[in-house]
Amino acid sequence: MEAYLFYIMAAVAVVSAVYLIFEKNPVYSILYLVMILISIAVLYLLLGAQFIAAVQIIVYAGAIMVLFLFVVMLLNLSAKEELKDALSFQKIPAIVMGIVLLSAIGIILRSKIPLGKQGEYTSAYVHDVGNTQLIGKLLFTKYLLPFEITSILLFIAAIGAIILAKRK
């Protein structure tokens, strides 16, 4: 069951990713990316990370991608992608490099992924306490400082976005 779900979602993600990069229409690209995000969210669920899965959907699919969609629509960048390509010579090497990169990663993976020592949060334990509760607890204890810094980051980003997008 788990294996089937993994393979299905993986296939959906990879195929969508291929479409994402070769799709001419940015709106479709966005939808493919949403599909990737959802399939990855499902994979998160498989990995027992319910909270992250939900946040993935809410933040990524629900907010960030809608923002993308917004911009695409606002700027009305429909189907036409400009014909002239200043870097057309780079296309083939880019794909080749992608393959090389993948094979390089594959070579690394062949030499077995070193799993470090196991932590204390076993699946059973996480299930008992609740994934969300654990993350909440960690966020407000061990990761309090990064959490606060994140809030500052978001604050600054909000200000920055407003200032950038403001018409003079």
Partner: protein
């Protein structure tokens, strides 16, 4: 049995596709999305490792990455909008005045 390797391979494939997308696409928004794809690929490996290592740190890291991604999207898209207002384009090849 799905092992961590499966997830890492998937993550690597998605990451590489993201890289290729950044290299070959000219639409700034699509390039941006490819970057998001790369981020997601890495997030996936984080969660996978977290799961197989019985650790929460990976998940928290993903949480922070998402926050950063949100901030990045907001600012990045604002920049794209600002650029579009000036140059009537989102083709990143036309935004190349930062050169010699």
């Amino acid at each position: 049995m799905i092992t961590v390797t499966h997830y890492i391979v998937l993550s690597a494939i998605l990451f590489t596709l993201g890289v290729v997308g950044v290299l070959i696409r000219r639409n700034a928004i699509v390039v941006f999305m490819c970057i998001e794809l790369m981020l997601n690929a890495v997030n996936l490996s984080f969660v996978a490792f977290a799961h197989y290592l019985h650790s929460m740190n990976g998940q928290l890291f993903v949480f922070f990455t998402m926050t950063v991604a949100a901030a990045e999207a907001a600012v990045g898209l604002a920049i794209i909008v600002a650029v579009f207002r000036n140059k009537e384009t989102v083709n990143i090849d036309d935004i190349n005045i930062m050169k010699w």
